[in-house]
């Protein structure tokens, strides 16, 4: 048995320690918002947060996640109220949608440390791949969320 803290809840699951965290999240815990894309940390569809930092869960062993705070798209905010989720809807970012939870998790990790990112910072942080090519709208949504953060701070 392996103990994992996912979205603030402690879980005991039966899984081999070397298995990717993504399997535990999707198969054992049925949190299917996190997607399997490439399996080699190249696409970012499986992005979650480990202790607040973005991590590609297909390339994190379960053992490496023990004792850390794991956050998936389901735990990002109650009622999908995270400014990025709101901005994603406002900018109508998704097309097929498959990569979008990973995109949002990557963007959330960026805004947590750089609340007002410039274009270069967005480009450097958003290394996720979208086969629909929604990159422009992703960037607009991140900028919208950043503006909202600024306005709320006033």
């Amino acid at each position: 048995m392996v103990a994992l803290n996912v979205n603030g809840q402690q879980h005991e699951i039966e899984i081999e320690p070397e298995a990717p965290l993504l399997w535990a999240i999707r198969e054992q815990l049925a949190l299917t918002g996190t997607k399997f894309g490439c399996g080699v940390a190249a696409c970012g569809a499986c992005t979650v947060h480990l202790d607040g930092q973005a991590a590609r869960s297909c390339s994190v062993s379960v053992a490496a996640a023990v004792g850390r705070q794991i956050t998936t798209i389901e735990g990002l905010a109650p009622n999908r109220s995270h400014p990025l989720q709101q901005a994603w809807i406002a900018e109508q970012v998704p097309q097929c949608g498959y990569c979008q939870s990973g995109m949002i998790m990557a963007a959330a990790a960026l805004l947590a440390v750089v609340p007002q990112p410039n274009e270069e910072q967005i480009a450097q942080a958003m290394t996720n791949i979208c086969r629909c090519g929604t990159y422009q709208r992703v960037r607009l949504a991140i900028q919208r969320a950043a503006r909202q953060h600024l306005e709320q701070g006033k």
Partner: protein
């Protein structure tokens, strides 16, 4: 008058002989020095060559570039996804090296890993231009330069090369994303350390 001339000629001759002697001695000394320097350089070339063969291997030099991004693979291509060095050699804000690189190489994805995965600082770059590794001589001097090598003397360098977990990773790099074993440096770590010890015992001479 004649005697005076003869005496003067003799004095001048003696002076010239003395001068020629001095010049010859100095010249021979210079040749000896050059020969000694050249011999030292040759020794340096011989002793440092096996060390350089490891340092310029992609497993090592890919994270010792002079650029603001790392390289990947045996062909040393720019790291995919336009990965950036960042201000602390650990990636950009929101896309840290640890986004993908965990504390161990991953069994299923093959993504390389070691604790605190990061790039070597720019001061420790081993390229003469982007994508081109330094000559052995330049590399040797760079490695020895205490202002760039973390203040390490020869003993500390040996210790670092022996025990650093990143360096050890190069000999245990796992498999790539296609499941193929990654190439390791041309010498084993043990052979590498033997070469390092021979080099430091000789005073760490550098090739030209």
């Amino acid at each position: 008058m004649t005697m005076r001339v003869v005496r003067r000629v003799s004095v001048i001759g003696a002076c010239m002989m003395f001068f020629i002697g001095i010049v010859t001695v100095l010249n021979l000394h210079a040749q000896d020095t050059a020969r000694g320097q050249s011999a030292k350089t040759n020794v340096g070339a011989a002793l440092f060559a096996p060390i350089a063969s490891v340092l310029v291997h992609p497993r090592c030099v890919n994270c010792h570039p002079m650029t603001d991004y790392p390289r990947q693979g045996n062909d040393r291509h720019r790291h995919l996804f336009l990965v950036a060095r960042g201000t602390d050699d650990r990636g950009a804000a929101g896309a840290r090296c640890t986004l993908c690189h965990q504390s161990q190489t991953q069994r299923d994805s093959g993504v390389p890993g070691a604790a605190d995965w990061r790039m070597a600082p720019l001061a420790m770059a081993w390229e003469s231009e982007p994508g081109v590794v330094m000559t052995a001589g330049a590399l040797c001097r760079r490695v020895l330069d205490k202002s760039r090598n973390g203040g390490r003397d020869l003993h500390a360098l040996e210790e670092h090369l022996q025990n650093d977990h990143f360096i050890q990773w190069a000999w245990n790099p796992g498999v790539n994303s296609r499941g193929q074993a990654r190439e390791t440096p041309p010498l084993s770590h043990e052979q590498f350390m033997q070469a390092v010890r021979r080099w430091t015992a000789a005073g760490a001479p550098c090739p030209d």
